[in-house]
């Protein structure tokens, strides 16, 4: 067994050397060293910290919940339209349990929302029931499950999960990317204002320098979402239940709930929907939101087709992330719910 022992020892050596390397480079800002720029901001944690700062100046009375497709709704405009103090809690890749967890977490910290605006993507009710991102943030998991805190075993499991995430090809590539950024700086992909509003700094920089590859951004995005919808067989029962509970809770808390179906750029919609059940899923989502309207009096807006409200003509960031002019059009529609 000498050969096996030597091989195992070398594997441990590889794992240790790799671990030390990514710890030192720290591409996602999870460890202490800050020698290299961050490649990817863990936005759930970032939003939680931002909200804590935001709440020091007074509680939020308006919450925007949703995925990154809701991040572009500007709180200052919402404040003006609704007369409330909004914080944008949109987080990347969010599914319905994220909305529920973030709402619960904000309520635990004194938020007293009069308005809750929820951007519902069809895939936020995805049948895969993968709760990875939300449950990877201990505070959100605690909030989602209504617990007082985590047990030691759960904390250990979280730590193990985080360690495992490091041992992925994507993490290694991010490390190389971070090293590259150190020597050839470009703006980060995005940053958040203190009220949670997103600024796509890399795309803006590329636009300003005329290097933004619009067709590629649209094409890559269409492929990504086509895959996501291809894997979606229906609306998750668990996730429907999370959304319904969120609406019921917010209504119980005295908030007006506004649900809106997020758009896909019409230019890429045929590609996104190709070989998927997207039209059927869209119809199911719309019908489910109507049910929530009937049961809880939530306002519902079907904004899936931006051409209908004049938001398709702009210069989107990709097939689902709309720009400022489109955000203005969306706000104009949502304002009808006041």
């Amino acid at each position: 067994m000498k050969f096996l022992s030597a091989t195992l020892l070398c594997i441990l050596g590889c794992a240790a050397a790799y671990g030390a390397f990514v710890y030192y480079v720290n591409p996602r800002g999870e460890f202490a060293p800050a020698i290299f720029p961050r490649v990817l901001m863990p936005d759930r944690e970032a939003k939680l910290r931002l909200y804590q700062d935001f709440a020091r100046r007074g509680p939020a009375t308006g919450l925007v919940l949703g995925s990154s497709r809701s991040m572009k709704l500007p709180p200052p405009d919402l404040n003006r339209l609704f007369g409330a103090r909004f914080f944008n809690f949109g987080v990347t890749g969010a599914t319905v349990e994220d909305f529920a967890a973030l709402y619960a977490w904000a309520r635990q910290r004194g938020a007293a929302p009069r308005y809750v605006i929820v951007g519902v993507d069809v895939d936020s009710l995805h049948s895969d029931d993968q709760y990875g991102s939300t449950l990877a943030v201990p505070e959100l998991r605690v909030a989602l499950e209504g617990k007082a805190g985590l047990t030691t075993v759960e904390r250990a499991a979280f730590a193990l999960g985080q360690a495992q995430d490091v041992y992925k090809l994507g993490y290694l590539l991010d490390s190389f990317h971070a090293i590259g950024l150190k020597f050839q700086p470009v703006p980060p992909r995005w940053s958040f204002d203190p009220d949670g509003y997103v600024r796509y700094r890399l795309s803006e920089h590329e636009r300003a320098t005329n290097t933004f590859d619009y067709p590629k951004a649209m094409g890559d995005c269409a492929v990504r979402y086509q895959k996501r919808y291809h894997e979606m067989t229906g609306l998750s029962t668990r996730r429907r239940s999370h959304l319904e509970n969120l609406v019921a809770r917010a209504r119980h808390d005295g908030a007006k709930v506004i649900l809106w179906l997020t758009p896909i750029h019409p230019q890429t919609l045929p590609d996104v929907a190709r070989g998927t059940k997207y039209p059927e899923l869209l119809e199911q989502t719309r019908s489910f939101l109507e049910t929530l309207h009937d049961r809880y009096g939530a306002s519902v807006f079907d904004l899936h087709d931006p051409a209908r409200y004049g938001a398709a003509g702009g210069y989107w960031y990709d097939c689902v992330h709309f720009d400022e002019p489109a955000a203005e059009r969306i706000l104009a529609v949502l304002a009808e719910a006041r």
Partner: protein
């Protein structure tokens, strides 16, 4: 459970490996390997462990019955009874709904109702194991195993349980008999080498190519001619690296436990002629079909016409074995016709320069994979239309997809079969294996996939 998962690599394998070498006696090791096979299988769905156990016990006792029966007629009765049970189980779980749906398409009056049947993973493989065992015992090629756990180890060996290779009992009987021997340093090194090569083929080639071509195949109706070819060539590479990768890992695991599992691939895309292709592709299946079906049908002992009919039947059933779908039947029939043409045109092929013959063989195989991969005959037809330049699809393949397919084709040409690699057994090679495994692990964690042959 799949080989490319944390639960297998970090828990199951180390525990079973350690216990195996701690155990000293044959019986302890048989019991351990049997239990580990059932745990491995039950991790997917424990209820189907009983089905596998039932199938194993039927063939085990049938083989004992055969060995105690003097007359040929009596032996035949045992074989028929045992094989019938196996085929009934396989037929019900794998083909009942296919038959019902096919009959319903003809007439709803004659069609039985569709049932909510879950296809037990690996049933096609372990059924072929048990059938070959029974037939071999009846033919006197092997003696019936007396030790129940020795036989259960053979059927439920986790390394080849759910996706092959289809190992005959006689091929590992000797190793099973000497399973209580001490570890052999050279086998351990070979085992690690095969396993690492298999992982690399699976996660660094097959899965990466799959990520590029699956969206193309899903959107077949929109594809340009070039993209349809990229999809076909990409799938050709993906399937080979996926399945040969799995086979390498199975062989490597076998070595780690002192069992030599036979070769399953031998550079199939370098074959000259379809007969040569089937001598190199999924060798354990093609030889199984040859020995237990083609020869049983009469093989090439009769007239040329009879030989061709036997070939066609064998390949049609071989196609159907892969899955309950008309696409697999057509794929099998297509290869049957190609085999016949290969025989009939043999003198002409001999005059063709070998590289040209190899290229023609490769292209014929690529076209066959279209049926194999397409979810329906309609999609296969659409795919062929796109490849032929018909239709008005204009979506090109992305540059990354093209790049990966080129990379895959180059790997097909230049990457040696693991059997051709002389794995270093000195300790100075350990860092190479470790680095290969570690890098493959990073890829594995990035994309969670199962092996393509798990569905069969």
């Amino acid at each position: 459970m799949v080989f490319n998962s944390d639960v297998f690599l970090l828990a199951f394998l180390p525990i079973v490996f350690a216990l195996f070498w701690i155990a000293r006696t044959r019986q302890q090791r048989y019991v351990l390997l049997t239990l580990s096979g059932y745990v491995f299988y039950g991790y997917w769905n424990w209820k189907f462990c009983f089905l596998m156990l039932f199938s194993s016990l039927v063939s085990y006792f049938a083989a004992l019955g055969i060995s105690r029966t003097e007359t040929a007629r009596g032996k035949r009765a045992w074989v028929v009874a045992s094989v019938s049970v196996d085929l009934t189980l396989l037929g019900f779980f794998k083909y009942y709904n296919f038959l019902a749906a096919s009959l319903a398409a003809l007439s709803s009056k004659i069609a039985p109702p569709l049932l909510d049947i879950v296809l037990p993973i690996g049933i096609s493989f372990y059924t072929f194991h048990t059938i070959s065992y029974i037939v071999d015992v009846a033919a006197g090629r092997v003696k019936a195993a007396r030790n129940l756990f020795e036989y259960l180890t053979y059927v439920s060996l986790f390394s080849q349980l759910v996706a092959g290779p289809i190992v005959r009992y006689r091929q590992i009987e000797e190793d099973l008999e000497h399973i209580d021997g001490p570890p052999r340093e050279d086998w351990i090194a070979r085992g690690i080498g095969f396993f690492v090569m298999g992982m690399i083929r699976k996660v660094m080639l097959a899965d990466q190519i799959a990520a590029q071509i699956n969206p193309l195949i899903d959107g077949m109706a929109q594809l340009s001619t070039g993209a349809a070819w990229v999809a076909a060539l990409g799938y050709t590479c993906q399937l080979y690296f996926d399945f040969s990768g799995y086979s390498d890992m199975a062989i490597g695991l076998g070595y780690l436990f002192g069992l030599r599992i036979p070769q399953n691939f031998n550079s199939p895309y370098k074959a000259a002629g379809i007969r040569d292709f089937w001598r190199r592709w999924h060798i354990s299946l093609s030889t199984w079909l040859r020995d237990y079906l083609y020869i049983a049908l009469g093989g090439s002992r009769g007239s040329a016409l009879r030989t061709h009919i036997n070939l066609l039947i064998t390949m049609l059933l071989g196609g159907l074995w892969h899955g309950a779908n008309w696409t697999f039947v057509i794929w099998g029939g297509y290869h049957g016709v190609l085999l016949i043409l290969d025989r009939v045109l043999e003198p002409w092929w001999k005059a063709v320069p070998r590289p040209l013959y190899q290229l023609a063989t490769f292209l014929a195989v690529v076209c066959g994979w279209v049926f194999f991969r397409a979810p329906s005959v309609g999609v296969a037809g659409e795919w062929f239309r796109r490849m032929a330049g018909a239709g008005n699809g204009a979506t090109p393949a992305g540059p990354l997809a093209v790049l990966w397919v080129w990379f895959g084709l180059l790997a097909v040409i230049f990457l040696p079969e693991s059997w051709d690699i002389r794995f270093g057994t000195q300790r100075r090679w350990a860092p190479v294996y470790a680095a290969g495994l570690f890098i493959a692990y990073l890829f594995m964690k990035q994309t969670k996939t199962v092996f393509l042959y798990y569905q069969f």
